[in-house]
Amino acid sequence: MVVEIGGFAVADWVTLAPTLVLVAASLLVFLIDTVEPRPGSSSNAVLAAVTTVGSLLAFLVAGYLLVVGVGQERVTGPVSMFNGQLVVDGMSLFFVVIVGSVTALVALASYDYLAGEAYQAEYYALVLLAATGMSLMASANSLATAFVCLELSSLPSYALVAFYKDNRGSVEASLKYFLVGALSSSVLVYGISLVYAASGRLQFGAVAEQLGARPEFAGVLGVGVVMVLLGFAFKTASVPFHFWAPEAYEGAPAPVSAFLSSASKAAGFVLAFRLFLTAFPEVGGLAGGDPAVDWVVAVQVLAVVTMFVGNFAAATQEKVKRMLAYSSVGHAGYVLIGLAAISAPDSGFVLGASMMHLLVYGFMNTGAFLFVALAEQWGIGRTFQDFNGLSTQAPLACAAMTVFLFSLAGLPIGGGFISKLYLLAATAKAGTWLLGAALIVNSALSLYYYSRVVKAMWFEEPDGTVEIESYPTSLYAAVVIAAVATVVLLPAFGLLSPSAFNAASGLF
């Protein structure tokens, strides 16, 4: 099949170029490692550069394809490949943009963070392979490819969390991440088998067609849909499979925590959006009539519970990284609003608001975790008190962290303000007042625990024992770039949101 990109007729697989770039970069990393198996500091720089440039290229190519309208209604319509197993449309490109930008930031920061560590080629290759899985998850259009892509992103992540294999925290984090991950993936695949039992199909569109509004085996299908939802709860760190998140994020190397909590979460959400909206729209009652399997209510419950659990647990933490981990659970609850309020008349707006929140979240949350990486590099400890008076020694990084935290809380200093406002408007449009109230209450609560860090950094007196000796350039660059992006997304939000809304409307 032939599609047209910017005036040129090319084969349809060219639209997968961002993913192919990531694959090529990971193979290149392996190749460099083969040529120079015991890397000195020079080849470490090459490895980090290949990873950063590769993911940046994936980000730019996906952005270009999105801008010229590939896969969207105004140009070609969704590009479907391999008998409908993969599809490239506005939504998949939008999420590849998120994954690519987060991966580039993480790779840039890892260069300084990993200085002096062994096995760096393996680290970068695993990051790129996981990113490949995540970008493919955005395109998966069948339960089979969905599961394969999900595992492709999960398996390297388990290994990445255990990267410090002599560190008990890292190993323990990886063990817990793996145990919960293995359990939830078997729940997911059992759910898939039940959906197959009820419909006899695996491709999303064919499942919807076969089920219709009144499926024959509604009971079996209902159990299957709930189990699939639980499987995705793991990937997006939502209740009830959220309890791995604080452990894994705390024990893992901080750039890996940033990667998992931003990119992996976004990839889980795009797959959940596509699956539930193209495979189960009619059984969920979105086409009107009584739902046979009311998954919308299930998602609403999960969204509210996830928001409260994440934010209340974050408020009680003593360690900054753990607080960020629970706040990441809370943000999964905010993003779930996109599915929970989907019955609104303007569903493209509701889903688009969630997508925009994930885009902004990709920068501000990655930045916040990278600041923690910086703090770990300085060896200043992990609790709130350890950050006391840090601004006297590192004002630039502390200013960036302040931007991240206030933007995460939803103050008008970064894009997080508008994306939360849109989510609130989405709940109002759907008339789901409980969701809106939960969003407001939790945002107010989150301001409390985010301000604790800001207060420690700017207003507390330093205890004078910590002396910062070095200012790692690449880590600093990554933090500052993320901060600039977060701030720029405030005025530029209006430029990007139409593409999110268009991409979201393409699913209905």
Binding site: L155, G169, A173, Y190, L194, Y196, A197
Partner: protein
Amino acid sequence: MAILSEFYLLLSAAVFSIGLYGILTRSNALVFLMSVELMLNAANINLVAFSFHYGNVTGQVFSLFTMALAAAEVAIGIGIVLVLYRNFEDIDVTKAATMRW
């Protein structure tokens, strides 16, 4: 005479439950891995049985994918259990609890 598809559902549900019971009650990491295998294979029973029921091979092909991925998952899992043993001198999953829940 062919066996009714409903019986396969019962069988797979039983196998899945046995696996889940193993995960919830055992603390040995290797037994945990075996239990996960049971749960994945319960899904395979469904996929193969309903592939026959509907007369297409989609489910059978997907069950091959599931097996391959289960093997990959166990490979990673064994690696993690190995470093667990090196760091904690045990493969009891409840021993690795230095972080607060």
